[in-house]
Assembly symmetry: C2
Homo-oligomer: 679 residues x 2
């Protein structure tokens, strides 16, 4: 997970005999993209065609569906440009430049501790971002790498008009469902094509990936260029113990119960099922991923190695008394902050992070209530999510036309109000204030049925009306958001002042000491910034069994039972005779990825797209804490399977023509020439 | 939790200035009772009236209800003896005698290890029990105390005709619901009266508790005589780590998801709600209890003290090389067995323990399928639950007339078949064999709708028909039970041979070494055998707040919101004006109890009943691993509140008259004279 500006080319050359040029790297970086709400992607045509996963477009597919036309179940294909449908809240970002702002950030916080450190850091970030962001088409984020060892300014080209071009049926994209999720072998076509538009027409992009003529072969060098969301490999032992003993168990129990509720809710009928499927997918995916993380942390060997590594590092630090005096207390400060975090975890999660107030309607209400206050403040004094540079993404979400389903909203809010009461206790003053005599179910139903916030127009008027409009509003959801806002802000403040600021400051100290001792021999923990991983197509052994790294299309037909989640869609059954069943379908590679990398292109040494990353195997879940190349695998759909399906199953001529021209042999190592693609 | 034959009277006298006589102890023991499926109780009249908790009678209340007459919601009162309704599967046991059989058990297993040890132990237990059990009215159990340090033969008078006499409304019994469960202060009337019958009329009992004239006062000495189900205070650190890292997290996640499913299922309608309420109560109760156990094990101090104690014990053992050579390897053997257990936990739970096949119908099917084989074997070669001494309880459950609700059965079976697939993986041969191409939902619906096992008559015919009848049966649930039986037995055998036998043998060795070093200064871990705990009515501090140990009836009215679970029933609202609102309602005491003690009498030094134990506070959940008298509290309903409610709210004259005579001042320390009670 190297940053593009710090790839260890000599190490790569030693291991794989290949040293990418600057041009190769720039081209790959500029052909890569991020879906701002949490996925990766790539440009695959001059005409702005974007390749990502079905599960990254799942929410959009549901949002553009209706009870009559279910694009999740049936798939989507825009046979003509005019048929492409805008996704209500997808933003595509392309990383244009990286600049080191560490000196400036360091100056701004020099000598400060605790809340003053935190405020100064936040203000400086807001200033840097505001100076950078000269247009709404740009997005500027100050990001921290190595837990504060480096601060970089990431500048993105931002696309907010993103349209749906193609997606297969859910049952083909997620064949095997939750049982097969995070497993390998796999037979999934987890693919979607989107397109970035600007000024009312498809955008033209300068960089895009050529579609590889050959599928990836066992042993072949592969690159993944994408946005791993977060890893925790450089955390202290105290932080890992907090995760293991408190945060993960609590999160898992919530996810498990919520899964049960959603599963049973879906049985109410076809429409309940349709509208809750994306939520259930998200919950099941998170549950399985976090179970894997928990299993890694209760693994004796992994934790013992973490403890040993920290002890060795501390021993090394202790050899220099001056450095020891400066750095060792930071470990203790972090340990204390974790104990404090355990004490406020419940209200922080339930009240400030809205774990007790789930659903779109409350989310909109809180955004409006807070925006009314925050927008009256100077940019650098605002809560981070209301700084000027963040407003384009914020308003895109607030004014999203995505449908809001009342029954599902009631379910979510009632469930989470129940969790609020459970987590804080029925005698907690906030709980009493919120619930009054009502049950969670009653209150949720009254608020959801009574609010007008499902209307984008009302949200826009309340946004534009600012504080006066919010103060005058009698909307019950707005009233709830106002009622809890002081409590929520108080717990956030406590968290920032007593925990987050201590963690950040102490992590910075530790990270810099680590640089001094070890240099940058390892890459920074993932932070949803663009990273490059190299590896190769490779099988592995598990439980005494050898797993081959490539599956073929025919395997899906062998595995199919006709029942969900092992049911292939009718389109596949009808096309079976036309398909080359020996086509490589999904592959496993040794690339180091993590959640957020979904949708990343898998690229060969020629810079050609040879696959689409959509998952990791079950062993990859421990990758949050440590990467074990023996068994940790990235899972991708091959370029060949995507073409075969587009051609023989979906007849998606328009996409095929747009991709085809790029298949011809272009220079092996250099930016792609722009080609006469369409539209 | 002292056994009645080993109460440290001098210690008690030193602490509380009271030394009970043999007669006092015998009387209390014989006035105590056990509900065989997992609760405690006491006899409170000569006429066989039994006092226990509402939540111990909850299943019975549901089983005797119908869609038209909901005794869980509305309560139950038999105004005349003939109105008492038999509970389909409640067994009441009264402990008649305890005999030490350690020498006999030790002889039978001398020099044996592993499977041979296990088989010899099982066979000797079966022999001892069979010799003892001269009638179906007796129940004989060989029980292990101190993890094999002592083996005792417990002989019980068994009552299988148990009838319902009185229960309040669920909303009064469980006021505060899950939010208030395991909390204090409390305002619950968690009370039910049953009656043991024999030969078609109420049984007459020789020993019963006098109803105390005064409620328990702060500081007063209190005894709890009951059946704590199980504690884990004498486990090795390896066993505790297995619980913390594997068993408890897995169990919690299952309970949490199942809770979600049941909660949402109940919203299908009134009948779904009525029939699933007891299951939901059980799941929520187990979830909260196990969360408390998990929290205790991730508490640094508690685990550190366990590690330190074990190290100190091992150091002590190491001082005697001969003993060290004999005992220390037992710790390692247990550690290895825990690692092995982690590897087979999933199939053991899902297949042999039927976690993957939940519901009454499969349970009946498995009993029948196994009984057909087991009953052809000699008594001492059978699976424990099919030994002759166990058959009366087994057949009572098998021939229970409790209603079976198809939709709930489908829900349970579908959910658990999903867990089976999840836990073993969709490619596991057993999963493939069971599911075939069907989904868990389809298979569950087909089996439940297709089976005839809801008919007691068919179950009886299959039982009586033995192996020939089972082999000839085409009932789909019987077929399923047969289909998985070999796999289930195989995993059970593996568990017995590689884990259970090692644990038992090693625990015995450690327990005896512990005796040699420490004597019997502590009581044995709870094993659902009768125990006596002494303590006193006492408040405590938590989170800087002082909690008073007594609540009053009026508090319930103050807390009531009118909405479940804080809604008082109409009967209470109507009676409010007649009630003495200052009556002590629930109390907290320092008695050491655990799950299984529910329904235990709280008794004063005069041997009078002054309360009914129904819960512990949240701090008591750590009591599974260590008892902390500063905060661990038993929670009981007072004698006074029960009388006040029977009199003023329920007008339960017949019960009041039966209890009243015993209130007159009888000898303070000695068996009660039989009194002219009714009926």
């Amino acid at each position: 997970m190297w940053t593009f500006d710090a790839l260890p080319r000599e190490r790569l050359a030693r291991a794989y005999g290949f040293a990418p040029s600057d041009a190769w790297l720039d081209h790959l970086r500029l052909s890569s993209a991020r879906l701002a709400r949490g996925c990766s992607a790539s440009f695959v045509s001059e005409g702005g065609l974007v390749l990502t996963n079905h599960h990254c477009a799942h929410a959009c597919l549901e949002q553009v569906s209706t009870a009559e036309r279910d694009h999740v179940r049936d798939g989507f294909y825009a046979a003509a440009p005019g048929d492409e449908v805008r996704c209500p809240d997808v933003e595509v970002d392309q990383l244009v430049s990286i600049a080191d702002v560490t000196p400036r950030m360091t100056r701004a916080t020099a000598g400060l501790e605790g809340p003053r450190f935190f405020e100064a850091q936040k203000a400086e970030m807001a200033r840097i971002e505001k100076e950078c962001q000269t247009s709404d088409r740009l997005r500027c984020d100050v990001v921290s790498l190595y837990h504060g060892g480096i601060y970089d300014l990431y500048r993105y080209r931002r696309y907010q008009d993103v349209r749906l071009v193609f997606a297969p049926e859910f049952s083909a994209a997620f064949f095997g469902g939750d049982p097969d999720n995070f497993e390998f072998p796999r037979w999934d076509l987890d693919v979607a094509f989107l397109r970035v538009w600007e000024d009312g027409k498809p955008a033209r992009v300068d960089h895009f990936l050529r579609w590889g003529a050959e599928p990836p072969r066992e042993g072949e060098l592969t690159f993944v260029s994408g946005h791993p969301g977060g890893t925790a490999r450089q955390l202290t032992v105290a932080e890992l113990e907090y995760l293991r003993d408190v945060a993960l168990p609590e999160k898992l129990l919530d996810l498990a119960e919520y899964r049960g509720v959603l599963t049973e809710y879906a049985r109410r009928g076809a429409e309940a099922r349709r509208t809750s499927q994306a939520a259930l997918f998200y919950v099941e995916n998170a549950l399985k991923a976090n179970r894997g993380r928990f299993a890694a942390l209760v693994d004796r060997d992994l934790m013992a190695s973490k403890v040993a590594a920290e002890r060795a590092f501390r021993d090394r630090l202790a050899q220099d008394p001056e450095r020891a005096r400066k750095v060792l207390p930071a470990f203790d400060a972090i340990a204390r902050s974790q104990a404090a975090l355990a004490r406020i975890r419940a209200p922080l999660w339930l009240v400030e992070q809205a774990g007790g107030f789930r659903g779109d309607l409350f989310r909109h209400a809180r955004t409006l209530v807070r925006a009314a206050e925050e927008r009256e403040r100077p940019n650098e004094k605002r809560l981070r999510e209301f700084r000027d540079s963040a407003l384009p993404a914020l308003t895109e979400a607030l004014f999203s036309t995505a449908p809001i389903h009342d029954e599902l909203e009631i379910l979510k809010l009632a469930y989470s109000l129940g969790k609020l009461r459970e987590g804080l206790g029925p005698d907690d003053p906030l709980v009493r204030k919120v619930l009054g005599p009502e049950s969670p179910e009653e209150l949720a139903a009254r608020l959801v049925r009574g609010t007008g916030l499902r209307d984008v127009g009302l949200r826009r008027r309340l946004w534009e009306g600012g504080k006066a409009a919010i103060d005058a509003s009698g909307d019950p959801m707005i009233l709830l958001a106002r009622q809890v806002d002081a409590d929520a802000r108080a717990i956030r403040k406590k968290h920032e002042e007593e925990i987050e600021s201590v963690e950040r400051r102490s992590s910075e100290i530790i990270a810099r000491a680590r640089f001094e001792v070890f240099g940058t021999a390892t890459y920074p923990d993932a932070t949803f910034t663009l990273r490059l991983s190299y590896g190769s197509v490779k099988g592995y052994e598990t439980g005494g069994r050898k797993v081959s790294p490539v599956t073929v299309l025919g395997g899906a037909f062998e595995r199919a039972t006709g029942r969900e989640p092992f049911a292939l869609p009718p389109s596949w059954l009808a096309a079976k005779g036309r398909l080359d069943l020996a086509t490589p379908f999904d592959v496993a590679t040794t690339n180091d990825i993590i959640g957020g990398n979904s949708g990343s292109p898998l690229v060969n040494a020629r810079g050609e797209l040879v696959g689409l990353v959509f998952d990791g195997n079950i062993q990859s879940l421990a990758g949050d804490f440590a990467f074990d190349e023996r068994v940790n695998r990235t899972v991708a759909v091959t370029n060949a399977a995507i073409l075969e399906a587009l051609e023989e199953i979906y007849g998606a001529r328009r996409i095929l023509e747009e991709l085809r021209p790029a298949r011809a042999g272009a220079p092996a190592d250099g930016p792609a020439r722009t080609s006469p693609g369409r539209p």
